[in-house]
């Protein structure tokens, strides 16, 4: 089976019986049809096939998805890192090389403080950081307070920080809690970017791969493009030259 090759019937996939057992050729044929891997003339299409194989691969890895936790002080569980959630998010930010997208409805100084060092380092590396939250347009809000130290330290660094907020009149409630790095991996879970969520509550999150990360980025960018959130401010990238 090669990309570009024409397939006209399940019988041409008879080799699959050795992998999938009797009737394997029919199973594979149906799966290929369902995943839109076959073009109008039965040609095997590269991109859908890649997606299909990735999906098959992910399914096999599903059991290996790592959980990250924030555990309350009273809940010590052997083998579970009580501050794993914050560490996981920090590690994700540290590993980013091009762009970062963070989305959380609630921000608070202690929570953002947990990530500030990594976010500044990312901005110093020239990353584009997008933060989507709510209530950041009010100067006295918790979200504004939380972002302010980062905004001030970000000035002059080569990366840019853009903060978006939901509108008070928007019909949607921003409720996801996501951090995406480079469209390659993402953390999604229950924790807002608050001190309680990253240090004291019971919160759970998982790290997902490229397929999901890309999808998350698409959704967030669509929300921005459709005007469901609006830009509060953007820090200019630092000047590189010296006149």
């Amino acid at each position: 089976m090669r990309v570009g090759e024409r397939l006209s019937s399940p019988e041409e996939l008879f080799w699959a019986t050795s992998l999938l057992g009797p009737g394997g050729e029919r199973l594979l044929w149906d799966a290929l049809l369902e995943s839109l891997c076959l073009g109008p003339e039965g040609k095997l299409l590269a991109r859908p096939l890649a997606d299909f194989l990735c999906a098959v691969w992910d399914e096999q890895l599903e059991a290996a998805v790592a959980l990250m936790w924030t555990l309350p002080e009273l809940l010590a569980v052997p083998g579970v890192d009580a501050t794993g959630y914050a560490k996981g998010v920090r590690a994700l930010i540290r590993g980013a090389s091009e762009r970062l997208t963070l989305l959380a409805p609630y921000l608070e100084v202690e929570g953002m403080g947990q990530l500030q060092g990594e976010l500044l380092a990312a901005l110093a590396r020239g990353l584009s950081v997008v933060l989507v939250t709510q209530d950041a347009n009010s100067l006295g809000s918790w979200a504004s307070d939380a972002v302010e130290p980062l905004r001030r330290e970000a000035r002059g660094l080569s990366g840019s920080l853009r903060v978006y907020t939901t509108l008070a009149t928007a019909p949607v409630l921003l409720h996801s809690k996501l951090v995406v790095a480079d469209g390659a991996s993402a953390v999604l879970g229950s924790a807002n970017l608050t001190g309680n969520a990253l240090l004291r509550n019971l919160e759970t999150g998982v790290v997902v791969g490229a397929r999901q990360a890309v999808e998350i980025e698409r959704v967030i960018h669509a929300a921005i493009e459709l005007g469901l959130v609006r830009l509060v401010f953007e820090t200019a990238a630092g000047e590189q030259g010296w006149d």
Binding site: G113, S141, P149, G238
Partner: protein
């Protein structure tokens, strides 16, 4: 309107003569400022807009809607910033009352009713401006409501009874004495009223206020440290910026970082390099041993500041420090070193010797030795031009309280921009920097740090950088609460307050001196909180003539508290010793005399229960002369 000379100081304008303020003109009576023309002023726009954003954050969102977001660079074009140059005004209010017969009304109405344009009533009495207006918490201000006419029989004889109390003031007919009405309670439809609970409440109406009442116009100024504008962006983005700035802060480099960065940047400019290289290569062909050729080769091999960069890298690697992007504190420290006019005790001693004052020179040299050897202060400098600025961004009426007022920007100028009035001044300041070796040893002595003591200052700096990251982190970052960091911050802050306790030596009251802490460089700055263009010179004189006396006085008086032994048993920080009523940047948190003289640390501090066996001034206290 008028062009007659009426001059006021810039600071006075900032507090009393900004748009929408009412003031009494020497010649024209009560007037309202309509516009204040601006002239250019050199202020750090980022610092200014940060200060404005901080100030606006005190108001509930619905009460600060008239301001474009000052955090957003794209919105800052809606503002114009400048120093007040010329105040324009108009007579206000224009409701007049006769001093003889009490006839009252709008000036134009009174003219129609037979009064003279020179301000004489029909009865011949003198017309005076009525000294009341009505104002609301939302910022609205109007002249008091004048009924359209008096009684039916004498429509032109409206008079005003002014007993000095709003409730008893009445409009009446000057002829038949018929009572017409009390002062009208004008309602307001504003964001402030919408925030109030339903029902009739006095706050929902405009309040009649005397024009001289200070609550009628409350300008809102905010102060900020006016570091040069271009420094931050350029320095931080420069290659090896962290190492160069650390080298400067750690006293390893005497060249200005700005100059070094610029020279390094020019060196790698391709066009310069090409031209220079061509010239050198041409010269090399003729004279390969020429000094210019050799210098060029050496420079290319080792750009300016490279030795320091390498040394800092070595120190950081040896201390296993994590290299991170330079933060603002480092830029600020570097900028103060590079861009301000500094005097050291050595400079002053030289100056005094030139003036023939050998005793004075010896005294300040002794002061420096004491500071270094006994007090653990590596550097004391005078900053002759510490950059301070003050800006007014709006006003409120009836009260200053953000929860009970709407903040109003000053009216837009002709170009549709909102003015912010700023004054940039240079004030005098004293800059202290502790000795990192002594600080590290103090941490070790008190069991707050581990390992062997560093042998040099450079090593101590690197160890502090590596082992006490909390010193350079902002509040709420993970290591900010690190015990060592809290201890060092507490030490610095306490020393700052102890010196302020005896700042009267300078002629300044403690409330007139501000403090600025840069914990990561073990520094604190005490500056004269003045926005006038002149300098009093009190801090400079203190430094030049009484440094030694002041230092010892601080050591001795810092040990005492009227509430001892209760205070010292409870951490050594209370209103009787270290607390300050004004100008404390952290609201009297992180203070303890125990850090300076030893003893129990305060409850609920990061190092609670950790009695400090050795204070930072342990030796100094023992060596201090009897008071």
């Amino acid at each position: 309107m008028a062009s007659k000379e009426f001059t006021r100081g810039a600071t006075q304008i900032l507090f009393r003569h900004l748009p929408e303020a009412i003031f009494e003109h020497d010649d024209y009576g009560l007037c309202k400022v309509t516009q204040v023309a601006l002239r250019e002023v050199e202020v750090n726009k980022d610092a200014l807009f940060d200060a404005v954003a901080d100030a606006l954050a005190m108001w509930p969102p619905a009460f600060a809607t008239k301001y474009p977001d000052p955090r957003d660079p794209a919105q800052r074009g809606h503002y114009t910033v400048g120093a007040p140059r010329e105040v324009r005004f108009t007579p206000y209010p224009q409701v007049f009352r006769c001093r003889t017969c009490s006839r009252a009304g709008q000036f134009t109405q009174l003219i129609k009713r037979g009064a003279s344009v020179t301000g004489r009533c029909v009865c011949g009495g003198r017309l005076n401006q009525l000294r009341y207006v009505q104002a609301h918490n939302c910022g609205r201000m109007e002249e008091i409501f004048v009924p359209p006419q008096a009684c039916a029989h004498h429509p032109n004889d409206l008079a005003f009874y002014d007993p000095g109390r709003v409730k008893q003031a009445r409009w009446y007919c000057a002829m038949c004495r018929a009572d017409l009405q009390a002062l009208r309670m004008t309602p307001c439809k504003c964001a402030y009223n919408q925030s109030l609970p339903p029902g009739r409440q006095p706050e929902k109406f405009l309040r009649v206020v005397p024009t001289a009442d200070p609550s009628l116009y409350v300008p809102h100024p905010v102060a900020f440290i006016n570091f040069p504008e271009d420094a931050q962006g350029r320095l931080r983005a420069a290659p090896d910026a962290l190492q160069l700035m650390l080298a400067r802060t750690w006293d390893m480099m005497t060249d200005k970082v700005h100059d070094v960065v610029q020279e390094r940047a020019n060196r790698v400019k391709p066009e310069d390099a090409d031209t220079m290289a061509q010239m050198v290569e041409a010269l090399r062909k003729v004279d390969p041993t020429n000094k210019l050729v050799q210098d060029y080769d050496a420079k290319k091999k080792q750009p300016k500041g490279q030795a320091e960069v390498d040394r800092v890298n070595q120190l950081l690697a040896a201390a296993k420090a994590q290299v991170e992007p330079p933060r603002r504190w480092l830029v600020e420290h570097t900028t103060l070193l590079d861009r301000t006019d500094l005097s050291t005790p050595a400079d002053v001693a030289a100056m005094l010797r030139r003036a023939g004052d050998e005793a004075g020179a010896a005294d300040i040299e002794q002061g420096q030795r004491n500071a270094e050897e006994l007090l653990g202060i590596a550097n004391i400098r005078v900053i002759n031009d510490f950059p301070l600025a003050l800006c007014a961004y709006g006003y409120t009426r009836t009260t200053r309280d953000p929860q009970r007022t709407v903040i109003n920007p000053f009216p837009m100028d002709d170009r549709g921009q909102l003015p912010i009035y700023a004054l940039a001044n240079e004030t005098e300041a004293l800059w202290f920097q502790l000795d990192p070796l002594r600080v590290f040893r103090w941490l070790l002595d008190n069991g707050l740090a581990g390992g062997s003591p560093p042998s040099t200052r450079e090593e101590a700096w690197a160890r502090l950088y590596a082992e006490v990251p909390g010193l350079r982190q902002a509040a709420h970052e993970p290591m900010h609460g690190q015990t060592e960091a809290v201890a060092v911050r507490t030490l610095l802050h306490t020393l700052s307050h102890l010196f302020l306790r005896r700042i009267e030596w300078s002629g300044f009251a403690p409330s007139s001196v501000g403090e600025y802490l840069i914990p990561a460089s073990l520094s604190f700055i005490l500056y004269a909180n003045r926005y006038a263009e002149t300098k009093i010179g009190g801090l400079t004189t203190l430094f030049e003539q009484r440094l030694n006396t002041w230092l010892w006085d601080a050591v001795q008086s810092g040990h005492e508290c009227v509430y001892d032994p209760l205070c010292s048993d409870d951490g050594g920080s209370c209103a009787g010793c270290t607390h300050r009523e004004h100008n404390c940047v952290s609201f009297n948190r992180e203070l303890s005399r125990a850090t300076v003289y030893g003893g129990p640390t305060p409850q609920q501090s990061a190092f609670e229960g950790h009695a400090l066996p050795r204070g930072y001034w342990h030796d100094a206290w023992k060596a201090a002369p009897e008071a």
